[in-house]
């Protein structure tokens, strides 16, 4: 059983995100432990990229901060390898395809395996282009996490059939970022997945408050929060361990109540 499946075995999952190297790699490592301690079930680590086209301003700025602070894919792998010695929490990378491709697909997956990365979420690698890395991912035991969105409609069954780890349900149109209201009929999207396969579904994009997370996990297996956490990190910088811990704890409590 892969570590990713562990994330969904004790009730509703809370998935938290951070941009690797924002504000620096030491803080990112501490945040991984803080998130785990606060009850996060899976952590998404963003590989900073110069042109994150699926991100809103909050995570765009985190990418810029991390790159300016000197974070590279190699340094991030090193940090993950250190963290992996101290934790068994499932870790997945959120990365654009170019950093993988340019690093060397095989070399990248090998490093993922060595450092204990369990899966990849790649916003600019849709179903049609998955073959770019699918074979090599399988070889190294790295899950490709598929995304479905409010515009996926009839594509959902096709995507779900080959989904691994969990399905990332994008709650809204547009880019990442906090939203006051999520209008999409998430349950309909999830029903379409579950009709095809029995894979966990976690909802992300726009979730910030415990109430929103609670509402989402009434129909989903987990809630994913990115921008709201990155905002806290932007505000507190190197001292964000405690506020991130408090926030994640409140969110995990909220999803556990359901």
């Amino acid at each position: 059983m892969s570590r990713i499946q562990n994330a969904f075995k004790n009730g509703k999952a809370f998935i938290s995100f951070l941009t690797g190297g924002d504000p620096d790699l030491e803080t990112s490592e501490k945040l991984i432990y803080a998130m785990e301690k606060a009850g996060a079930d899976l952590i998404e680590i963003g590989i900073p990229f110069s042109d994150p086209i699926a991100e809103g301003p909050v995570i765009q700025e985190a990418n810029e901060r991390a790159l300016a602070a000197g974070c590279t894919t190699d340094k991030l792998f090193d940090m993950v390898a250190r963290a992996r010695k101290n934790t068994e929490i499932p870790l997945v990378y959120l990365t654009y395809i170019n950093p993988i491709y340019t690093y060397g697909k095989e070399k990248f997956m090998k490093r993922c395996q060595e450092c204990g990365i369990d899966g990849l979420i790649i916003p600019d690698l849709p179903y049609e282009e998955k073959k770019e890395i699918a074979g090599i991912c399988q070889e190294y035991g790295i899950d490709i996490i598929s995304l479905i969105t409010p515009t996926s409609h009839e594509r959902i069954a096709m995507v779900a059939r080959e989904a691994q780890g969990f399905v990332y349900c994008v709650s809204s149109l547009g880019v990442t970022g906090v939203r006051t209201e999520i209008k999409t009929d998430i349950s309909q999207m999830i029903d379409l997945v579950k009709k095809t396969t029995d894979i966990p579904c976690a909802v992300g994009f726009g979730i910030a408050t415990p109430e929103q997370a609670q509402k989402m996990v009434q129909v989903a297996d987990g809630a994913i929060v990115g921008s709201a956490i990155v905002k806290i990190i932007a505000e507190h910088g190197k001292d964000s361990e405690q506020p991130v811990y408090d926030y994640v704890k409140s969110m995990k409590e909220a999803v556990t109540k359901v």
Binding site: D51, G56, P99, T102, K131, R155, V175
Partner: protein, 394 residues
């Protein structure tokens, strides 16, 4: 391999949110491209509105002055809105309208594509929003006002390097926010399939006209066709119909900024490596970790870190060759053509003129070259003055 490949390049590397939109676009394009009514409407717009065919002008003074090959200029600068961009925009907006879209969005570098999109949106009664890097809204202020005059809303993009690549990022982000009623009028032969194909098809009229006009003027094909390349739409338009004519040399001129060895350049073929960005696998200026490089050129329209996938393929197979041209050389060519022929070319097109000036001298007098003058240079006059130390502002 997925759809839309040019050799190993191309593809559809975009967020899932946009997949149905590009599939729908491909279906609509396949339906309308052979539709007699659509073709007729587009042909009428080309003729009556854009002023096609554009002239093929024999540059007699330039030819005599350089003393080598005969030089012809394909006058895309004479099109309505002043560049080749209108060819693609008329096609895409008409297609979008047929698809029931009521709103168009576009990126722009120098502002030529933005102006063309704003113009056609006004003509066809569509809502229009244009995304332009903050650095470019500053250096091409007149075009910003022009777009607003045409009824478009212009967004100055302040993320990243604040130039063309960031404008593309922001337009893609905007498209994921609002797809139902919105078409993204991509301005070059780049991005996810079917854009590289659609844009090429709407631009290939340039090369088709050159062929016909050259047969009329000289009774034979030219020896070389020379065009500037950023994303590569005017070059692809000029080259495409000649690809089968192996004896015709195809030459793309990239922006080398301060020089190919200087970090401040945008010469993708000279300095780039294979990557995946903006929806396509192609060549990009990037570092070892795949971070896209902050490129530079005096020309806002060539200031782009990638190149269309079909160009990458033509480069690989050797059917076209690509040469770097510096800011200095382009500015000299800008001034030279103005002085010699009374034609002020866009600073983008001046890159092609610059290389042609060198190359013509290497060729004998019985050779013929065609330079695609992709746009007019009125928009660049203030910037060139500043480059020469004259502080005039628009």
């Amino acid at each position: 391999m997925s759809k839309g490949r040019f050799g190993k390049y191309g593809g559809q590397y975009i967020p899932e949110t946009l997949m149905n939109a590009v599939i729908e676009l491909e279906e609509a394009y396949n339906k309308y491209k052979e539709d007699p009514e659509f073709k007729e409407e587009l042909a009428a717009l080309y003729k009556e509105y854009a002023g096609r065919p554009s002239l093929l002008y024999y540059a007699d003074k330039m030819t005599k002055d350089l003393g080598g090959a005969k030089i012809y200029l394909k006058r895309e600068d004479l099109n309505h809105t002043g560049s080749h961009k209108i060819n693609n925009v008329l096609g895409q907006c008409l297609l979008a309208k047929k698809m029931g879209k009521t709103r168009v969005i576009a990126e722009t570098g120098a502002g030529q594509h933005g102006v063309a999109t704003a113009t056609v949106a006004a003509l066809l009664g569509m809502e229009c929003e244009v995304f332009m890097g903050k650095e470019d809204t500053d250096r091409q202020a007149l075009n910003v006002f022009r777009m607003e005059l045409l009824g478009a809303k212009v967004h100055a993009v302040t993320s990243g390097t604040q130039t063309l690549k960031d404008a593309v990022n922001e337009t893609m982000r905007e498209w994921t926010k609002r797809i139902e009623d919105t078409h993204y009028v991509l301005g070059s032969v780049m991005g996810p399939f079917p854009f590289p194909t659609i844009v090429r098809d709407f631009q290939k009229i340039i090369g088709e006209e050159i062929k016909k006009q050259m047969m009329e003027a000289e009774g034979r094909l030219p020896d070389a066709v020379i065009a500037c390349v950023g994303g590569g739409s005017n070059a692809m338009g000029a080259f495409y119909d000649f690809i089968e004519n192996k004896e015709v040399e195809l030459i793309g001129c990239e922006a080398a900024g301060l020089g190919v060895d200087n970090p401040k350049n945008a010469a993708t073929i000279a300095n780039g490596s294979v990557g995946i960005f903006h929806g396509m696998k192609s060549l990009f200026c990037q570092d070892e970790y795949g971070q896209i490089a902050p490129v530079y050129s005096i020309s806002a329209g060539l200031d782009y870190p990638g190149i269309g996938p079909e160009h990458a393929m033509l480069h690989d197979c050797g059917r076209a060759r690509y040469v770097p041209v510096t800011d200095d050389e382009a500015v000299e060519a800008f001034e030279y053509l103005s002085r010699t022929e009374g034609i002020i070319p866009a600073i983008e097109s001046s890159h092609a003129v610059a290389y042609a000036m060198k190359y013509a001298k290497e060729l004998s007098k019985d050779k013929i070259i065609v330079i695609n003058i992709s746009g007019r240079g009125d928009k660049d006059v203030a910037a060139i003055a500043r480059y020469r130390g004259v502080e005039i502002y628009e």
